[in-house]
């Protein structure tokens, strides 16, 4: 009996890992396609952006340390001055019209590309939370 319980628990744990891995690898794969369609023209294939014009994603403190802000930018676009790795940028990123899952996918990709090695896994719920916060704030204005 004990053997069976241990086996079942082991199996459940394993499938949990498998599920997460599978989610992440699929999400990153989709994210790469989204990046190449919507983002690459400004942030460039090496993720370094264009000096003083478009900020980098590779090694970007803005992306890696404050992922909610990054999610908001990908979902709603960005306007006004921001600081990335100590450098100020004052450009404009238009709203791309991505679905919440697409936002999660492309951020999962950028968190793991060009030497970025974040262990954050973005799910659709995380994007929905950012949406709620953002739209709640707008409603209050």
């Amino acid at each position: 009996m004990r053997v069976i319980i241990v086996a079942v628990v082991f199996f459940i744990a394993l499938s949990g890992f498998y599920y997460q891995d599978n989610y992440l690898s699929e999400s990153v794969k989709r994210g790469q396609g989204i990046f190449e369609m919507y983002c690459i023209a400004c942030h460039q294939g090496d993720g370094k952006g264009i000096p003083n014009v478009y900020p980098p994603l590779a090694g970007s403190d803005y992306l890696l340390e404050n992922t909610e802000k990054a999610l908001e930018a990908v979902k709603y676009g960005l306007q006004g001055e921001i600081e990335v790795n100590g450098v100020k940028y004052n450009n404009y990123m238009s709203m791309l019209g991505l679905e919440d899952q697409e936002v999660a996918d492309v951020v999962n990709y950028t968190l793991r590309e060009w030497g970025n090695s974040s262990d954050k896994v973005i799910r659709i719920e995380d994007v929905e939370e950012v949406t709620k916060a953002k739209e709640g704030a707008t409603a209050k204005d």
Partner: protein
């Protein structure tokens, strides 16, 4: 009490003089920037439909009319279904050359798959219509690039008429550069049609089997600027290169402009997709930018209000958010100069019926007018 009034008046006078617009100096023209209307979305294009009304196209899929006199902004209803995603949405607006009499407005947009169409996704469509009581009526699809693709970039989408009334339409490579050099598809092409969408009998490929008869030129990437040179009647276009290699070309029948076989650009990851910048059967750009400026919007200046710019070309830059003046001599670009910086991502440029240059931007979405500084001096 009197003192307080005087103080208030003094404050108002000071703030008024502070609010006076700065004069922007460039090497050949000085001007001020006059904001016409602000608070818009991505102002992809605009057209004056009368002396005091301008039709605005926001990429988000909205069309509006702004009255410069009453300052009223009205929505236009009755648009077709538009896919506003990525670079897709509502694009260009162009009036028929005989608009005064026939009231035809042409516009382009990202159109989702319709019944019976090949391919999933969307592609660039061109429609003509009239506006009646702020509503689009008499809508006719003039041309749609097919099949549809699931990508949401490189739509092209510019519309221009030549002197004879032929219609030129640009469609970008839709992200499939490897297919642009094939002539049986609509990727990276400029099409030439009659104003009702019929194929002209003298198009370059009407008798070539396997080639779409609407095609006028090919080998383009993403053409977001197109304008007729009023001095020569030629159709000029510009297009985005990848990393570098943005081009200006003069469009000629049956000419291959080389994308992606020849290019001055490289891949976004820095690798090269072609070592060639020229090939015998492919046209060299008239002018190219290295690195890219990401050009959008294009207009020739003909107005007497800008004597030193007359006959020259204005081009917008998305990347550097500025307006570029290209001095033109005998169909060549002599030199370029950034004449207006930090204005926003420039989407569209037009000379209005009043002879002023108008510029449409995104981030912030607004329409501005360049007022020559001498003119301001006179009016004082």
């Amino acid at each position: 009490m009197k003192k307080i009034y005087l103080a208030i008046i003094a404050c108002m006078w000071v703030s008024l003089s502070l609010a006076q617009k700065p004069v922007i100096e460039s090497s050949q023209m000085s001007f001020t920037v006059d904001t016409v209307v602000t608070g818009l979305g991505v102002l992809w294009s605009f057209e004056f439909i009368s002396d005091d009304e301008v039709l605005l196209a926001e990429r988000e899929g909205r069309m509006k009319i702004y009255n410069l006199g009453t300052k009223e902004l009205r929505d236009v209803e009755g648009l077709p279904e538009i896919v506003a995603k990525g670079q897709g949405g509502l694009f260009d607006i162009e009036l028929h050359p005989d608009y005064k009499n026939n009231k035809f407005i042409y516009f382009s947009y990202s159109s989702p798959k319709q019944d019976g169409e090949e391919g999933e996704g969307q592609n660039t469509a061109f429609m003509r219509a009239r506006i009646k009581k702020d509503k689009l009526v008499n809508k006719e699809l003039i041309f749609k690039a097919l099949p549809n693709y699931e990508t949401n970039h490189h739509f092209g989408g510019r519309i221009e008429f030549d002197r004879e009334g032929y219609l030129y339409l640009s469609v970008g490579d839709r992200g499939g550069r490897d297919f642009v050099q094939e002539m049986n598809n609509n990727r990276g092409k400029i099409f030439r049609l009659h104003d009702d969408g019929a194929v002209p009998k003298d198009n370059p490929y009407v008798n070539t089997p396997g080639v779409k008869p609407e095609i006028y030129s090919n080998g383009h990437r993403n053409q977001q600027g197109m304008a007729m040179n009023p001095e020569t009647g030629e159709i000029w276009e510009h297009e985005h290169g990848p990393m570098g290699g943005d081009e200006i070309n003069i469009i000629k029948p049956g000419v291959n402009y080389g994308w992606p076989t020849i290019s001055y650009g490289v891949n976004y990851n820095g690798t090269s997709f072609t070592d060639l910048t020229e090939q015998e059967d492919m046209s060299q750009p008239l002018y190219y930018w290295l690195p890219s400026i990401a050009p959008c919007g294009m207009e020739f200046v003909t107005s007497d209000k800008y004597p030193n710019w007359k006959g020259d070309l204005l081009v917008g830059s998305l990347k550097f958010r500025n307006l570029v003046h290209c001095e033109i001599y005998e169909s060549r670009v002599l030199h370029e100069e950034v004449v207006l910086e930090g204005i926003g991502r420039v989407r569209s440029i037009r000379q209005g019926p009043d002879g002023f240059i108008y510029v449409g931007t995104e981030g912030p979405g607004m329409l501005v007018r360049l007022v020559p500084a001498e003119k301001v001096e006179e009016e004082k």
